[in-house]
Symmetry: C2
Subunit: 287 residues, 2 copies
DNA sequence: CGAATAGTGTCTATGAGACATTATTCT
DNA sequence: AGAATAATGTCTCATAGACACTATTCG
C-alpha cells in the first residue's frame, strides 16, 4: 500500500523534485473580454474591450506585447502575480500540459508554443518544496484572440497529481479557479507588476529569446490573420523588437524572402492610399 | 509515516513524473586513459592512449568531436549505450547535478556546461515509469583532458533519491558503477552506436545547437590551452562545423574580433615556419 | 634550395541601413 | 490641392568568400 500523505519537513529532504510547466504567452493585445490590470497596483481596471473601445488604431498600432498573468491567492507570494501553469500529469506530454494550463487560465489556446528553458534552482522558492519548472513561450495570434472563449473539459489535476504530491499544487492552485475572473489579467511586458518566485526572470528570458529569433516571418505569421498589409506585418516586427524599422527596407527584405504572396486585393476604408494585401505562402506547420 | 515502497503499475498512474539530467559532453579527443569503443559493435577496443599512441598529429589534427557514453547493464535497453546522467537530489541545482554525474562517469569535469532542452514525451521509454530528462551539453577542454582523473566523493544518490523513487534509478544505475571501466567509452559523433531511450535524438540536437552558436570564440576558448596558434584555433572551429575553413579569412575575422592577444612568442619544434602564439583576452567567465 | 606552413593583400558578391523620389488614394 | 501613406529606386558601407602572393623556418 502506498501512502502519499503529506510528508514532514524532514521527510521532504529525501524526496526528488517535482516537475511543472509555466508559460509566457505573448499577444499584440489582450482578447476583447479579458481583464487589463494596472501595472503598479495589479488591480484589474477593466476589460480590454472597455479600455480600448472601438478605437481600432489602439489595436492596429499596438507597439508592445502583452502577456496574461494569474494572481496567487495563497502563500507563498500571496497576492503576487505569476505565470499560468501547473504540474505535469503522468500521461501528458510537456507541450500538452503547457497548452492545457494556459487554456485553463485564458480560455484560449495560443497558435504557437515552444519550450524555453527549465528552471530548477534550489533557491527559487524558499519555503515551498523543491520544484523544477519547465518554461514555455507561446504566441496568441489575431485569430486566437478574436475567437470567443472555448471551454474544454479541464482535467481534474487535483485528483490526478495533487493527491500524489499535494505540496506541489500550492504553487499552481490559483490556475484552477474559474477563469475570466479578476485573478487573470493581461500586462504589457514593459510594465509588469511584482512577480512570484523567479517568474520575472523567466519572462525576461522569454522576451530575449523571442527577439533573438531570426526567422520572424514564421513568428509574425502567428500574430496575423489570413491577409495583411506590409505595414501590419512591420508593426508586428516592431512590437517584437521594441524599435522602429525602415518601411522601405522592410518591404524589400520581406519580398526578397519569397514567403509572401500578393493576393491582388487592396486594403479598404483607409483615409489614404490603400495598401496591397498579402498572405503567407503555404508551408509545413510546426509547433 | 511516508511509505515509499515501489508502487504497482496501477498506482504509478497517479504519480507525477520524476526528473533527471543527462549530458552530452564534447571533446576534441578522449582523455589519454579513457576507453575507445568500436562504433559498430560497441565493444571497447583500447584506451585512447594506446590507440593514438605518440602520434600527436592524430590529436592535433582531430577533425571531429567525441563524446563519452555509458553502457547500460540492465533492462530496459540492456547493453545499449546511453548518455551519462542521473536523478536530481533535493539540494542540488540542475547544473550541479549535470556536472557531478558526468564526473562520476568520466572522472573529469567539463570546463563548460549549458542547458540544452528538456525531454518529457510520454513515449520516451515504453516500459519504464515516466521520466522527464533535462539535457545539458558541455565541453571538455585540452586542460580538462590532460589532467589526471580526479576522485570527488560521489554522493550516495541511491540512498538520497532512489529510496524515495527507486524506479527512476533503473535508467541511471549504470552511472553508479566504478568508473573508468569497460562500461564507459568514447565515440565520435559521426559514428555512434545504437543508443538507449531517445538519447540519439538528444545528441543530434546537442550537435545542432553547438553548430548554431555564433560566438565560437567563447566555445573554442574552452577547447584550448592557455596559448595556441591560429591553426589550432581554426581546427577547433573546423571540428565543430564539420567542414574546412579558409585559413586567410579565418585569420582576418578572428583578429578583427579583437578577442585575441599576440603573446609575442612562437611555436616550437615544427618542421616549417613556426606560428605566432595567441591567447584570449581576459573576459568575465560564465558557465 | 625546396618543402611546408605562416601570414598579407586584393577583388568581388551580398546584404543591410539610410534616404530621396514617385505613386495612389481620400478628404 | 493637400495630406497621408504606399511603393520604388539608389547610394554607401560592412562583411564574407575566393584566391593570388609574399615570408619564414626546417631539413
Amino acid at each position: 500500500m502506498v501512502n502519499f500523505s503529506a510528508p514532514s519537513a524532514s521527510e521532504r529532504r529525501f524526496m526528488p523534485p517535482a516537475v511543472a510547466v509555466s508559460t509566457v504567452a505573448f499577444a499584440l493585445h489582450p482578447p476583447i473580454d479579458a481583464n487589463v490590470a494596472d501595472p503598479r497596483s495589479g488591480e484589474v481596471i477593466s476589460t480590454w474591450g472597455e479600455y480600448a473601445g472601438r478605437d481600432s488604431t489602439r489595436v492596429e498600432h499596438s507597439t508592445t506585447l502583452w502577456i496574461p498573468l494569474v494572481r496567487r491567492t495563497r502563500p507563498p507570494f500571496d497576492g503576487h502575480w505569476a505565470l499560468p501553469g501547473g504540474p505535469i500529469p503522468w500521461d501528458e506530454d510537456l507541450h500538452q500540459t503547457a497548452s492545457r494550463t494556459i487554456h485553463e487560465a485564458v480560455l484560449r489556446s495560443p497558435g504557437y508554443l515552444e519550450q524555453l528553458f527549465s528552471f530548477g534552482a534550489t533557491t527559487r522558492s524558499a519555503s515551498a518544496p523543491r520544484l523544477v519548472t519547465i518554461a514555455y513561450w507561446g504566441l496568441y495570434g489575431q485569430p486566437d484572440l478574436i475567437a470567443p472563449p472555448t471551454t474544454e473539459p479541464s482535467r481534474d489535476v487535483a485528483s490526478d497529481v495533487a493527491s500524489a504530491n499535494r505540496d506541489v499544487v500550492t504553487e499552481f492552485s490559483e490556475a484552477l479557479v474559474a477563469s475570466a475572473d479578476a485573478n487573470v489579467a493581461w500586462f504589457t511586458i514593459d510594465r509588469l507588476p511584482e512577480l512570484a518566485f523567479d517568474h520575472a526572470e523567466i519572462i525576461e528570458y522569454a522576451v530575449w529569446r523571442l527577439r533573438q529569433r531570426t526567422e520572424y516571418s514564421m513568428i509574425a505569421h502567428r500574430f496575423l490573420g489570413e491577409e495583411f498589409t506590409l505595414a501590419q506585418l512591420r508593426r508586428v516586427h516592431e512590437a517584437i523588437l521594441g524599435e522602429q524599422i525602415d518601411p522601405a527596407n522592410f518591404r524589400r527584405d520581406m519580398l526578397a524572402q519569397g514567403q509572401l504572396v500578393d493576393t491582388g486585393r487592396l486594403e479598404e476604408g483607409t483615409p489614404h492610399r490603400p495598401a496591397r494585401l498579402y498572405r503567407f505562402k503555404e508551408q509545413p506547420d510546426q509547433g
